[in-house]
Every structure is written in structure tokens, then in C-alpha cells.
Symmetry: C2
């Protein structure tokens, strides 16, 4: 890291304030849901994401491309181009590569290179199942954000994460929150994923992790409640910061017509405003 | 799946018998460790793996390319080419894409497309932390193998996997083995990853999962004991089948000279023989 380069956390703090937004825009470009004019075009995925980014960039605190949607379409080059474009045009907005990596140390170092050097992302999502040595190689990339899955928003999230750990009887996701906030967070680079479908659990995680940023998927298409989420995840006396609340599909596919970017802006603005209003209640 | 297409499990059964081998050859092509003549060549990674595959194909029960080593080098095209080559030239040997994916259902479907349609792999490794709906989309691809992380061979593997779950007090990895063998294994497509660094735990998993195939990393460079591993993972009265015991670096980097493929063959043969001998004890 160049000494003048600001860290992921600094970027995020500054984006929360200057953009007055806790909205994270997720790029899940499903080829079947692109506007007709872009379907099958060689750079269609990039163009789709670029137009939506241009229409919403003043409304978001972060961008989050989802790796799978590019990988299934052989579109790594478009993913490189998208992140390159975002970092060039909107350097103040951090970009999270959502690839949920998790592997042994020697392999994790290659995933870290992929995320931070190849794609130039500011942060990456990772899976805690394989433990600290599967997380540590990312932390060696100074200033980069490492966002650990804690409590996910999907139905199966409870299969493991809600199991009680003896002897304390606390659920696994609470144990992960404690590990991530304390033992693992040697350099302040760690954030956590906590789903909006469980606001009471967001509150428990917030109580453990202090001011650590939380990436919160599950509003929008997944149906999480905005007011409850923002209340649960807020930092005491610091309204309007501390969370990257993600919406992907509800914004991306607001219209399937040629007005898709404007329609995306309308939904993004409504969502950003709802998040801001909820923070000020 | 074409009705004449054999499943991953059938391929594996047949490879164990016809090749008399439980050796899984892992492709972790580290650019810094390629033979000098191949370093920096446009297709160097593919050529390296192809030469080693050609030198060892009669000695293995499966090939396992590790996604990270290709992704960090922008070498997805070489990964496509490698798997295409292996499936074309050695159709009897199943190919496992080791990418340890884990994401919500709608995203997992894209990862399944990536693994099975784009790359043409016969099986993929997946992470259980997000629960059954993160696994289920892969199972919809009939006949494909879905290899779930259970007990991993790295030092941090114990951070979560060895936590005791109340009320039974069994470790998390045992719980995952039970879920994977029973509730989740709706179509017989699931296998498990259990590291060779913990033979007594392999035995516990084997007792739970019956004849389910186990992918066992951790011998070779990671130092797991071959005899103890094979004893622990064997199926009663069926010596020589049931395990894909992986070695990557010890074989790939047996020599850094121009004799790398022959040197890889020597180590692969020694390892295959040691595994076979251990099974016959």
C-alpha cells in the first residue's frame, strides 16, 4: 500500500459521511434479466453495470460485484473492466469483491492476489469455516478490507450458524463475531456479514463488535425490514454510519426496459432515503 | 445429464478399480515454482499441468485443479483448456474443481453453472457454513459430485470445526458429517473433505458416512501419515476404494528442472504404491 493510499475503512467512513448513505449497491448481473438491448452483447454485463453505477454513484457508500455472476458467464474480463472503471471514476467509493473465499493459507494468498491485485478491489468477502489461517493472508494486504461471513441472510444460514456451542451455549455466529472482533482482528481490517433477515441478531453482533463495519445483505429482494435493520445495526450516538446495507436485484432489475438505469436510480434513492430516515428516528 | 453419461460416483468407483489407485492429483500451479522454460509463457500453466497429467494419468483416481492458482494469474482460459484436455484424453478419470464455493441459492446456481457447464468438471468442492440451500443448487446437476468441507487439514481448521455443539457435545465437523450423509444427501451426490492431518477424525467420519467417498488432503507437503490415513478412511471389507487422497505440491514440484514430469511420475508412483500397500495391510 502506498503511504498516501487510504484504507478500506477510511474510504467507507468518508463515503458514509460525504454520500449520506449506507446503501451498498450489489452487482448480480443475471444474463437472463439484462435489458434486451444488452443481452448477448460482448460487453453487455459491463455496460449494464456501468450504466447503473453512473446513475447511482452519488447515492451509495459502496459497490459490491458478486463474483459468481461473472464467473458463470466467462466474464472475468468484464469484472476487471467494471472494477477498473469504478475505481477510476468513483475513487471515493470502496468496491467489495463478493466471492466468499475460504481455503488454506497458501491458497488463500492466491485468492488475496486475485481480489486485491488482479481485480483491484478494496475489500473481499471470506468464509470463516476453515479458521484463522484461511483469513490471515488477506490481512497481509495492508489497508484492504476483509469481510467475514458471520450470520447469513439465507434460509440455510441457521443450519450451522445457529447451532449452540458448548459450554457457553452461544450460537456459532456469536462465536465467529467474537473471534473476528477480537483474536482475528489484529490490524483492524475485519468487517462482518450479518443478514437483514434477523435484526435481533444484528443487534447482538453490534453489541460484540463495537464500531466494526457490518455488511448487511437481505433487504430488497430478500425481504428484510429496513427500519428494524438500521435500528439493530446502529452504533450508539453515531447515526448514519457503521453499515453497508446491500440491495442488488431490487435496484438492478427495477425496469427491464431501456430506462433501466433511471429506474435503478429511483429505487436506489428511495432505499438510500429510507435507510437515512431510519437512522435519524 | 445424458442418460448414457456415468455419474461422478460411478467414474470414481471405476477409477479406483481400474487404476488400482486412491491418489488424487491436485493441480496447484504456483507461477514462481514452474520450470524455468515454462515461466511467463502464455500457456505455461496449462503446459505444466498437461505434461504432469500425461506422465501420471495411469496412477491416479482423480484430478483436482485448485481454482485460486488459476484465478490469481488470470488463467481461467488455461483452466478451461486443462479440464477440456483431461476430459477428452482421460475420460475415465473424474475431475474435481476445487473452488470451495459457498453462497445463497440464487448465487450458488451460478457457481454450479461455472463448475459443471463452463469448466465441465465432474465434481466441485463446497463450503457448508451457509447451510443446505447453498449446497442444493449443485445437486440439481444430476450425476455431478458435490464435495462438502467437513474437517480441513489446515491449522485453523480447529477454530470452528472442533467446537463442541450442545446438547450432544459433538464437534461441529461431526455434525456436518451427519447432515451431509443424511439430511442433505438427497440424491447420493455428496462426498466429504476430511484432512489427513487428523486420522482419528477420519475414522469417526467414516463410521458416520458409510461408503461415502472421502476427499482427503494433507499427505505430501502437509505431512499427513499415509498408513494411518488409509487405515482410518477404509470401508470395511473393501480395501483400496472409498478415498481420494490428494497430493499436490509434493508431486508437482518434485523437480524444478526440465525433468519435472518424469520426477512427478516417480513421486506419484511411490505415493500410489504406498496408498495401495497401506490398504492391503
Amino acid at each position: 500500500m502506498n503511504s498516501r493510499t487510504i484504507t478500506f475503512n477510511q474510504q467507507l467512513q468518508s463515503a458514509w459521511t460525504s454520500q449520506a448513505s449506507m446503501l451498498c449497491l450489489g452487482f448480480d448481473p443475471d444474463p437472463k434479466r439484462l435489458p434486451l438491448a444488452l443481452q448477448g452483447k460482448p460487453d453487455g454485463i459491463f455496460e449494464f453495470c456501468r450504466e447503473i453505477a453512473d446513475a447511482t454513484a452519488d447515492l451509495v457508500c459502496s459497490f459490491k460485484p458478486q463474483f459468481a455472476y461473472f464467473a458463470s458467464q466467462r466474464a472475468e474480463t468484464q469484472l476487471e473492466k467494471l472494477i477498473g472503471y469504478l475505481k477510476d471514476k468513483y475513487p471515493q467509493i470502496p468496491v467489495i469483491l463478493d466471492s466468499k473465499r475460504g481455503d488454506i493459507g497458501s491458497t488463500a494468498e492466491h485468492y488475496a492476489q486475485e481480489a486485491f491485485e488482479r481485480y483491484g478491489a478494496d475489500a473481499v468477502t471470506v468464509n470463516p469455516y476453515m479458521g484463522f489461517d484461511s483469513i490471515e493472508p488477506y490481512l497481509r494486504h495492508q489497508g484492504k478490507g476483509v469481510i467475514v461471513l458471520c450470520r447469513t441472510s439465507n434460509p440455510g444460514g441457521s443450519d450451522l450458524q445457529f447451532l449452540n456451542i458448548s459450554p457457553d451455549g452461544e450460537p456459532l455466529y456469536i462465536h465467529v463475531a467474537k473471534l473476528a472482533a477480537q483474536k482475528w482482528n489484529t490490524s483492524g481490517q475485519i468487517s462482518l456479514v450479518v443478514g437483514a433477515t434477523f435484526p435481533e441478531e444484528i443487534a447482538k453482533v453490534r453489541a460484540i463488535v463495537g464500531e466494526m463495519p457490518l455488511l448487511i445483505p437481505g433487504i430488497g429482494a430478500q425481504g428484510g425490514d429496513i427500519d428494524a435493520t438500521v435500528r439493530a445495526g446502529s452504533i450508539v450516538n453515531q447515526p448514519g454510519i457503521g453499515m453497508m446495507i446491500n440491495s442488488s436485484r431490487a435496484i438492478l432489475y427495477a425496469s427491464s426496459g431501456s430506462d433501466f438505469a433511471q429506474a435503478a436510480r429511483v429505487v436506489a434513492q428511495t432505499t438510500r432515503d429510507a435507510l437515512r430516515d431510519a437512522a435519524l428516528i
